[in-house]
Symmetry: C2
Subunit: 477 residues, 2 copies
């Protein structure tokens, strides 16, 4: 598909698109459009003749119908917080952008049924809040939650810090409403926990990064709020110890273990140095740290009792060097804030080459050991900030530049570092994109690392859903 | 697809297929073949010239390659315990059967990594046992676990009694190995909890009932064994009370609530009357019953404490009329045995028209009320045995014939009762097949109840994966 060179839409055609959403919601002024053309890290810069901001599903359908009839390429965009360029138009100026932000109604909150139905443009924090106000919890939680939108969370199958207990976005969604490339609307907004009637279309659209259709609404699962919640921060010796401690915590707490994050000493130093309100809560430095989050559906006492049991066993086995238990909501927040700002804390330290990888959980110590040696062989002064969701096997393997080195020269080694880190990941049967997706960034690498038959099957699906190739072209495949 | 009339494979072609697996594993004798041609309920009777029993993935691939080249239609079959005829060849005698039972190696059990890799023909109970021996738990549990195979569990996205806490088969699988209709092998046996690299092929094959390829192996998730386990049986007034009690249990126990089943008085009577070892453990009769299963990762005391908390709150709110807590492993088994044999206990009572439906959890009382009235209007003497996984919104809505009525005359009303029950299900935005799938049984109904665009998308996927239409034709679509 996409064989013929794309042509920018004519003024007349743009006017027809604008007519669907109304002039006020068809942004054409460069200043208005600018925020939609680049993402936070400024890695991708696109161009577009028009950003359409539909307010209803029918408007999205009308846009896609016209796009389909005229062969116009379309890029759907949510909160523009994606990290792989999936939401950015290409630089040709031929692709129009559909920004979903006005499609932000919460259609229904059913506390008794433990479900809510929200439109794609609803900001994640708004969804969390609406669930909270209904006495329930929507567990998806990630750094960008104040700006990212549910449609983007779905399209990227978002992960975050609650995956351990609640799964990623795919696990949190019961149904979808999708506008297909033809403009047809699929109403799959089911509320069913069990439904074995035909192929799993829902999970195909989730994680497809807008290449198969435009997600316009979703049925989300809600959960009971925990009655007790504890946050523990502990200094440990090695990632191997972290893994042993994780298995111990999992055995003792079962599904009450709601978070288990690994952090290196350097990450704690960076956050304490650069992030407002963060300090190292332990008296002495330790090589590695874990953040343990425990929730009880029963009572605060039950949560505290789990922490005590865990400490007892962990100290007995000599796993923990020192630890602190948060004694207030503020302290809980501060400990999580340290972990969540770890990536940002690298910015004042200069250039950072980032990887979002996963390996089988049991292979994390091996991965960290091998990758550390290989990276330091290539650049002995590199400062490795490897942290993340150890219980999910997911490490954000970020490499800060040597102290005082030239930022651009270091960033020019992105590809070199990728090859090193991803090579070890693949050797350990891991993933080069655990939660951020493929987008533009890893498209060529995907084609290289996956089996040809896999890429072929994906292309067949793409071609059968979007034969004209107008739906977010150049992304994923 | 499948436009031309199918032709039975020639003797020569059958010999070539037999050559792949060896004569001993190519069953052609009518007596040997018979068990593969009909399922437990004897609703579907097929014919086939040969049943092939491959012992390796390469043999499966060779079979599919030859089938693809010769346009031979293939029906994959696991433990033959499916309830909708998905595993049965059609009566034309043109379809060959691949029986996966010899592909039954447990390739790996990784207790530390919490995963195991098993071949498709492994019996579910064998998988459970291997996990248990490694000190872990594989939670999928259903009536047929002594004979059903993992490949069939995957192809039907099996549910069962542990879905509430652990999800269905789709949630329990991390990766697949699949032989495609062309004979190509997709090795997707990943062990990753997070992997956002392209379309979700895995979930497309899961639940596809063998129409997109032959699943030959899978990576399965393992879990910590519970340290405490309690089973409660309680008499209650109405399904509405059951729902209130369910939400209370969910709030109090969180993910320690590992089972919540609803049963009617008549179901308890039938099992006590017909099933060895089952008796009503309560002194007086009650209109409805719930079976509550609670597990603690922490300790036996913690599980017991959850039960006590639940009882305290439930009695205070007047939800429970009477209850018993199992005091031994035998009693726990007996209570679950009552629930699991409820469908079988209908057999001695004559004909039974069965439905496997789901509705949004909050709609269960409404569904039972409306369906009960409608069925009794059509047949005032019908005996409705509606039981199931209330926490999943999944009810096995089975209707036993009137006492002393003619069995065949009653069963002849299957379609009539389907229309009544499924009509109400659809009106409540439910599913006509919560866990058993579509197979042959509900294929025409699927086309009727789903939106045309959904069926169209499924057909596009089918055509792009299996353009020759040789893969379990006539099933699902």
């Amino acid at each position: 598909m996409n064989e013929q060179a794309p042509v920018p839409p004519s003024e007349d055609l743009i006017a027809r698109f604008a007519g669907i959403v109304g002039e006020a919601n068809a942004l054409r002024d460069g200043h208005d459009i600018a925020p939609y053309l680049v993402e936070n890290r400024e890695l991708y810069h696109g161009r577009t003749p028009v950003v359409l901001r539909p307010g209803t599903v029918d408007e999205v359908a009308a846009i896609m119908k016209l796009a389909s009839e005229t062969g116009t390429r379309v890029v759907p965009q949510g909160g523009n917080s994606g990290l792989v360029g999936a939401q950015t138009p290409d630089p040709s100026g031929t692709e129009i952008v559909i920004a979903l932000g006005r499609l932000n109604r919460i259609r229904e909150v059913d506390a008794r049924g433990n479900v809510m139905v929200v439109e794609a443009g609803t900001v994640l924090a708004t969804v969390q809040q609406a669930a909270d106000e209904a006495g329930r919890m929507f567990p998806l939680s990630l750094g960008a939650e104040g700006s990212c939108q549910i449609g983007g969370n779905l399209s990227s199958n978002a992960g975050g810090t609650a995956v351990l207990a609640f799964g990623n976005m795919r696990s949190l969604c019961l149904g979808l409403e999708v506008v297909l490339p033809t403009g047809e609307i699929w109403n799959g907004l089911r509320k069913l926990k069990k439904d074995n009637t035909g192929y799993d279309l829902r999970d195909l659209f989730i994680g497809a990064e807008g290449t198969l259709g435009v997600i316009t609404a979703a049925t989300l699962k809600l959960f009971a709020k925990p009655k007790g919640h504890e946050v523990v921060f502990a200094g440990i010796d090695t990632p191997e110890v972290a893994l042993t401690l994780f298995r111990l915590a999992e055995d003792l707490c079962g599904t009450s273990l709601t978070g288990f994050e690994l952090m290196p000493r350097i990450g704690v130093e960076f956050t304490a140095r650069h992030i407002e309100g963060v300090r190292d809560p332990l008296a002495d430095p330790h090589p590695w740290y874990v953040l343990i989050d425990i929730s009880s559906g029963q009572s605060p006492e039950a949560a505290r009792s789990l922490v005590e049991h865990l400490f007892e066993a962990a100290y007995e086995d000599g796993l923990i060097r020192d630890a602190v238990v948060a004694e207030s909501e503020q302290q809980k927040h501060d400990l999580w804030h340290m972990r969540e700002s770890m990536s940002w804390a690298q910015k004042p330290e200069g250039g950072s080459i980032k990887h979002d990888v996963s390996v089988p959980v049991a292979s994390i110590p091996t991965f960290l050991d091998r990758a550390g040696k290989a990276v330091l062989e290539a650049e002995p002064e590199a400062r490795i900030v490897a942290f993340g969701h150890i219980g999910d096997g997911n490490i954000h393997y970020n490499i800060s530049q040597p102290l005082g080195a030239d930022k651009d020269a270091f960033l020019a080694r992105w590809e070199e570092m990728n090859v090193i880190v991803h090579g070890i990941v693949m050797d350990l049967e891991g993933s080069i994109s655990a939660e951020h997706g493929i987008g533009q960034m890893k498209r060529e690498e995907l084609a290289r690392i996956r089996q040809p038959i896999e890429i072929d099957l994906m292309k067949r699906i793409k071609a059968s859903f979007d034969p004209a190739g107008i739906m977010n072209p150049g992304k994923v495949l």
